[in-house]
Amino acid sequence: LRTSLRNTKVEWKPIPVALGIGFLGAVQFYRVRQREQRRQIEEDEEARSQDEGHGSEEDEKRKPKKRKRIKPSGPWQVQVMSTLPLKGISRLWGRFNELQIPYYLRVPGFKLYSWVFGVNLSEVSESDLHIYPNLAAFFYRTLKPNIRPLDPRSTALLSPADGRVLQMGMIQHGEVEQVKGMTYTLEALLGTEPPSASSDSAPAQGPKKDAQGLKRHALPKEGEEDIITSDEEFAEVNGISYTLPNLLSGPKSQGGTPAMDASTTPKSLSETEVRADLALGDGRKQLWSSPTPTQAATALYYIVVYLAPGDYHRFHSPTSWVAEKRRHFAGELYSVSPYLQRTLPGLFTLNERVVLLGRWRWGFFSFTPVGATNVGSIKINFDRELRTNSLTTDTAADRAAEEAADRGEPNPGFAEATYAGASKLLGGHALRKGEEMGGFQLG
């Protein structure tokens, strides 16, 4: 044996990459399982100690509650799926797709992917597919300019992305109408009721001066929606007082009639501010110049658009609107395939999603991209802080929970941010119709 060992030439060979990745996946899977079991034991102990009434009420409230693992109900396939470390798998999938593809394999590789998932390569902005270093970059491809003309009607709401309409309808009693047998409560989907009813960023009553000394108009309460009396003082900028009519048409002339039309708005507003106001103002102009539509009955509508793996995965603003708030639900990452939508009730309230809340010309408007296992990362171009499907996501959600616990409030389940800066007067981020808002990324 000694002589054969000594005489045998040692040859090193690379272990196949796939085996290595499989091994890493198994290690990660084992580790996550251990962590889940440990967490399960802690939760059981906690529940048992609560039963026994240990610790004072106050202590319990102050101690930050650990985020309970979401346990969906559903058939055995769903139970099996809920034991999988979906986030781990999604992040692994993302890592895998960021691996550089050898230069000469790119074109055949992307053509195969396009053939399998029905990608129309003639619409891709880059004709030379070598440019895309990996599948993640190809997945987040852009389209040729003007290949998607926008519907010319000014009152039309556009589809934000390529996809298929899964469900649409009117919302009755705060519930999204039956989506393939599943009913969602609006509150569960968006967090709480729409901001207009309980926007905590609005001063409770009466206009108040904020840091720059600007008077802010109190957002209307339930029932008083969007009815702003025309000569109520709306804002004061650089010593010029504005009411809604003259915000769009400049300061009042002596006779009290607007001195200028909307196109000659006062120079003291920056262009973006004016744009934001016009985006809202347009609607509001209709609010006060003709019988206001919101005095006509309004209703809540919803539409669900499903993006298949081969679709163009960037999304665009469906209309001119102002995004005021963002609520980021860390959630799980189940697949959102039509099959799972049929079998997993409440899927959209479980998955990681980013709820953008704001207003358009007819009132409340919300835009919610929902992540999935293979596309767990949601990117919003104008939200630099947002990190989805990453370890920082979980910590952000836990931090929100702790802050809520400190305030003695229940865990909101989401991390919230408010957009400011598009308009000093109104706040929020103004979006134009058709403007790219962000997209879904692999992993």
Binding site: R148, P149, L150, D151, R153, S154, T155, A156, L157, L158, S159, P160, A161, D162, G163, R164, V165, L166, M168, I171, V176, L189, L190, P194, S290, P293, T294, A296, A297, T298, A299, L300, Y301, Y302, I303, V304, V305, Y306, L307, F315, H316, P318, V336, F348, W360, W362, G363, F364, F365, S366, F367, T368, P369, V370, G371, A372, V375, I378, G434, F440
Partner: protein
């Protein structure tokens, strides 16, 4: 992946452009212009007021 839009709009009525309404007239409310299951492209209208 999926996108859900929830929005407020004037209550719809069954009338539509075919009835000779001019665009922008206040007579109608929200109108859907898509069907369930329909494939749609970015930029196409899903409905209008």
């Amino acid at each position: 992946s999926t996108i859900v839009m929830v929005f407020e709009a004037p209550k719809g009525s069954r009338k539509s452009f075919d009835d000779g309404w001019e665009e922008g007239e206040r007579k109608g409310g929200w109108q859907w212009s898509v069907q369930k299951g329909q494939k749609i492209k970015y930029g196409e209208a899903v409905g209008w007021v």
